[in-house]
Every structure is written in C-alpha cells, then in structure tokens.
C-alpha cells in the first residue's frame, strides 16, 4: 500500500507565543517548532498500517527551510521518504491554498491512502483534509479513530460523529483520512534514526516548480488580527441542590461552553 502522510510544522506546544507588532500574526523568530499533535498520530497510524500490510510511507510537508526538522523527525520515526514543498509564503495561508498545493505535489504519485491530522495545533481550521480529498477525487472520512485494511482495495475506518457516536464504515481506496489525536501510542524517533534520517530520500520542490495557477494560490480567507482571549472574571454561581446544580452545569457545559 502506498501511503502518504501530510505533516504540518507548528510552534512547540509550550512555546511562549507573542503577537507580532503588525498585530495580524505571531512573533515567530527563534520560536521552537514541532510536528502538530494530530499529525503525529497520523504518522503513527501510517507506520502501523505499513507494518501490517507492507508498502511505503511518504511524508509531505509544506513550509520554509526550517520544516526540514519535522521532515527528518518523520523519517526518523520510520517513514521511507519525504517530499518537502519549500516556501515561506504560505505560513499564514488558508486551507484552500494549502490543500491545492498538497494535491498538486502528489497528484501524479498514485497514493492509495493519504493521512492528515484532524486539525492543526496553530490555526485549527479542520478543513485541509476535506478539501484535499475533493481536489484528488478520493473518498474521505474525518475524526478517524482507527484504520484497518480489508480486501479488494478497501479499508475499514471507525470515526467519531456528533454526540460522541462512533461509526464504522468501509471506504474504497484511494482515500484521504483526517486522524484524531490520542488514537494510538506514538513511537519516539530513535536518536540513531535521527542521526541517519538524512540518508533517506528527500525530494525538495519549490512552489514555482509545482506550477499552480494564480487562482489556486489566492486565499479565500484573510487573517485580520490575532490576539489572546481577554481575561475576564465573570463567574456564575449555580444555585440549588447538588443533583439539580449538576444537571444545570452539564447542560451549560454542553450548550453554552460547548465542551462536552
């Protein structure tokens, strides 16, 4: 099975984020970077599939030169080769443009399965995978919890629906899957693997070489302003006896805070 894993590089989880003077982006100089959380689980899922059915896993990353760190990490974890679309222009781009670039970079490769993370740690649009499937004309599932191969070029996928329902479906290949975080134990790259990552094939292409149209490169979305949530000290006391208060709390968490 030919598997592709799309990986995004984002600021480290505990990096100290500060808003740039321009007000529409963050201060990114000297910031430690890492592979986005969900994408790690996608890499692990891809490697496990490869180990189960044989085949190869390629990793695809769109980003500046510093993206090579994440490319090498994926290779050190066990991916076989890498495609790195080198560009500094798309850091703030929208899912439409990114998915166009990803699609163009691999359209002639004939991948059977493309894994992406469900959403990225930084912008969190949760849209690149869906659009990529559309551009490549592949089947698609989101919030994927497990992937198992079945015969005849099909896979069995379980994924989350609203209200925490889990659905298991069979998809025909080729397919694009958006992988949820926390679905497996992600392996650590070995230090030996890290030191030898450079010996694996890494194809570097520039945006120009991909020959995308002006329309493909025109974002549909523009970031006007970024900022931290304003700290407020609003607190609401829920009155009543414990059972009733608990019910009200759950209700509020569900409908107002939308965290359940």
């Amino acid at each position: 099975m030919k598997i592709l894993c799309c990986v995004k590089q984002v600021p480290e989880k505990d990096a100290r984020i500060r808003v740039a003077d321009s007000g529409d982006w963050i201060h990114s100089e000297g910031l430690a970077v890492a592979i986005s959380e969900c994408d790690r689980y996608a890499v692990e899922a891809a490697l496990r599939l490869k180990e189960a059915v044989d085949g190869e896993v390629a990793v695809l990353l769109v980003g500046g030169e510093q993206g090579s760190k994440s490319v090498k990490e994926a290779l050190a974890m066990g991916c076989d080769r890498a495609i790195h679309v080198i560009t500094d222009e798309l850091t703030r781009s929208d899912p439409f443009v990114i998915s166009k670039v990803l699609a163009k970079a691999v359209e002639d490769e004939g991948f059977d399965l493309v894994l992406t993370g469900q959403q990225s740690d930084d912008l969190g649009y949760n849209a690149v995978g869906q659009m990529l499937a559309q551009h490549l004309g592949m089947s698609h599932a989101q919030i994927v919890l497990s992937v198992d191969p079945v015969e005849d070029g099909r896979i069995r996928v379980s994924h989350e629906l609203d209200n925490a329902l889990i659905e298991t479906i069979e998809l025909s290949l080729p397919a694009v899957l958006g992988v949820q975080s926390g679905i497996n134990d992600v392996r650590y790259a070995s230090l030996k693997g890290i030191m030898q990552a450079n010996s694996k094939p890494q194809k570097k292409v520039t945006l120009e070489e991909l020959d995308l149209s002006a329309e493909d490169l025109t974002p549909k979305l523009r970031i006007e302003k970024v900022g931290f949530p304003v700290r407020t000290s609003q607190a609401e006391m829920i009155e009543g006896d414990a059972a009733a208060a608990a019910r009200t709390l759950v209700d509020k968490l569900r409908t107002e805070a939308k965290v359940l």
Partner: protein, 394 residues
C-alpha cells in the same frame, strides 16, 4: 509587557541543527511522558525504575556519541550534551544511570578495549541487555584514586583481583564491572582496567543504604575476594591513572551539561509557582527580591548554556577532545551554580519547597552528590588552579 521565555534570552535555537533539536526534543518528550510522572515516588522510596533501561536503550541514549557500527547513535557532542541536559531535567539519578553506562563503561571498552571486546560488549550494552558499573573509588581512595589498594595479580594466564570499591553507581544491578586495579607495583602508573563479569566467583555488589541524595539511583559496593579473571578481560590499552581519568573526563563533560538541566527544572518550577503564588496581594514574582533571585538564576543558567555550546562545538571540531582543564572548569561551575539555583528555587516555593511533590528539593538534594562525585568541587578547583599556575596544590 509580555514576558520573554528564558530560551529567548539564551537564543541558541537557530544555532542548532535539525538533528540536534530533534535529539533534544525527543529526549525531552520521553522524559516528560515516561519518567517525570514516576520519579518522585521512586525518589521517596529510594528505588530506580529499572524498566526504563529498555526504553532508554531503544531511544539510543546509551553510549550515544559512540559509532553506529557498535549499535550506537553516533551523535555529535552538542546533541549528546543536549540529551544529558534533558535527562537531568528529569533527575540526576537518570542522567547518572546513562552516564555510567555510556561514558564510564562503554567508553573505556571503546577507547581502551580490543576490537573483540568492543564487538562482544558494546552492541549489547547499547541495547541495554548488559548493564555496567565503574569501580574506581575505594573506602580509602576517593579524591586520590592513585592511592587505591585493589590489586590484580598475574597467575598464569589469569589475573586474581582482590579489593573493595565503594560508592559505585549501578553496581547492585550491574552485569559487568569495569574495575580499576594495580597490577605490578604500588604506583599510579600500575593501574589497569578490567572487565569483571558480575557472576564470577568472589564478586559481590551489596547496596549502599541511607542515602539522602540521588535516591532514585542504585549505589553499592564491589567486593572482590580473590576473583579470577582471564587475561583477555584486561582492557589492553589502559596505562596508569590517565586511563580512568580519560573516562571521567567524558562523564564530567556530560555532567556539566546535565547539571544545567536540573537547574532549569528548578527555575521553570519556581517561575511558574511564583507567578501563581499571591502574597501581600500580588504574585511573588512581582516582588523585587524574588525578581533578583530569578534574574541571578537565569543568568547563571544562560552563562552555563553558552559555555557548553562553545565547548561542545570545540570538542566536535577537535575530534572529540578538549582540555581536561576546560572540562573541570565546566563541571565545577555548572554543578555549583545548579546547586545554588536549586536552593534558591526551593526557597521561592516556600513551605512547598521542601515537599517531594515538587521537583526543586529533589534536585537540590541530588546535586549534593553531583557536587562530590566525578571529582569534588575542590578537586576541580585544584585542577583549574594547576592549569592557571602550573603548580600542583593537591
């Protein structure tokens, strides 16, 4: 104003290669996910989580700077140092475990051993299948190892080893001991290194109890009662006291890095705690005295970082060698400042600072051992002094 992170002060991120960053980040992730959740309990119980040996080996941390042909990671000195720093961010006991296996046991086999010994032992030690310990210190020979009493007497094609080693990290769980003993005469130049398998008759490795420092680490003795080992167990290239000291210099370099990790762990904890701790109506980090403590600590950590980056790049450029005086200067300085930072941070935590639920007191207690082992602070002062004046003041 938005606060900067200490990493922004140190500003080394862009100086590191992808590989160096990945070694650091991977070790950091492993320590935080797999080790930090369990270390506090092990420290309190004076146990070491032996099960992490396999994971440490899988990561490639044992003998990490030795060549891949012996199953090692082949890291450069910066990557190696960053890994030690992340390990000691976890606990000095963890870094000691890795230092002893790599710098004090695998390194002497690599540097002073025959090719046969290298291929026999190194891959298994890199894989964590064989754990080693390093026996130099004796009850009456610590800072002055040249005065050791352990003897290796030639008997036909064998050697008979007799003596006692104490304060030996990992001896209670070791499969093999690198034992330093005098062969022909009573001079420091007669010291040779031997590989002594633990299961040889006459070898015993009792555990040392009652430690108030480095509690999450095995420490014990090596008792050698007329232990017969074949002559092929001698490390052929060892010649005099310089040989064990060469091993110690490898380990001391790692310690100089590691101590900064322990200091950083305390600093991170104290800063986070201080930001949340409201006293007299304000977070304590808004108080001048606490800011001075943080500024002093951060400055010492940053200076240590810059020093180690420079020395490590130098070591890489010079084929793995820097002056032993430079190593002494780094070990002496970084452990002393780490101890000071740990004490300061412990105090910033107030009463909570003496609880093992926080990391600072654990690091503070551990660093007392690190201050003493691998050449005490005073011994390194004398080494640097000798370098500066050309005069021996031991």
């Amino acid at each position: 104003m938005d606060a900067l992170s200490l990493d922004e002060f140190i500003a080394l991120e862009d100086e590191l290669s992808d590989e160096e960053k990945l070694v650091r980040d991977t070790t950091r992730r492993w320590v935080s996910e797999r080790f930090l959740p369990i270390v506090g309990e092990h420290f309190e119980n004076a146990t070491f989580p032996d099960e992490v040996a396999r994971e440490v080996a899988e990561l490639g941390l044992f003998g990490g700077s030795l060549p891949p042909k012996y199953g090692c990671a082949g890291m450069n000195q910066v990557a190696y140092g960053l890994a030690q720093q992340e390990l000691e961010y976890g606990d000095s006991g963890l870094r000691s475990f890795v230092s002893v296996q790599g710098s004090l046991c695998m390194f002497p086999i690599y540097r002073f051993g025959s090719e046969e010994q290298r291929t026999k032992y190194l891959p298994k030690m890199a894989a964590g299948e064989l754990i080693g310990c390093f026996g130099l210190t004796e009850p009456d020979a610590g800072s002055d190892p040249g005065s050791m009493k352990t003897r290796a007497t030639r008997d036909g094609s064998d050697y008979i080893l007799h003596g006692q080693k104490m304060w030996i990290t990992n001896s209670p769980i070791a499969d093999l001991c690198i034992v330093w003993a005098k062969t022909d005469g009573d001079d420091a130049k007669d010291i040779r290194g031997f590989i002594v398998e633990r299961d040889r008759e006459g070898v015993e490795c009792p555990t040392t109890h009652h430690k108030m420092s480095l509690r999450a680490s095995h420490t014990g003795e090596i008792l050698l009662d007329e232990v017969r080992v074949p002559a092929e167990n001698i490390l052929p290239e060892t010649k005099g006291l310089g040989s064990p000291l060469a091993c110690l210099n490898q380990a001391r370099f790692g310690i100089a890095w590691g101590a900064l990790g322990a200091a950083r762990a305390c600093f991170d904890e104290a800063l986070a705690y201080g930001n949340e701790r409201i006293v007299f109506g304000k977070p304590i980090t808004a108080k001048q005295l606490i800011q001075k403590q943080l500024a002093d600590s951060a400055t010492q950590i940053a200076l240590g970082q810059w020093m180690m980056h420079h020395l490590s790049r130098l070591k890489d450029r010079q084929g793995g060698r820097i002056l032993p005086y430079q190593v002494s200067m780094a070990k002496r300085n970084n452990v002393a400042i780490a101890l000071e930072v740990a004490r300061t941070c412990r105090s910033i935590l107030g009463g909570n600072g003496i609880s093992a639920e926080f990391a600072s007191i654990r690091h503070m207690l551990n660093l007392e051992s690190v201050y003493t082992y691998e050449g005490t602070h005073e011994v390194h002062t004398l080494i640097v002094g000798r370098g500066l004046t050309g005069q021996d003041a031991f």
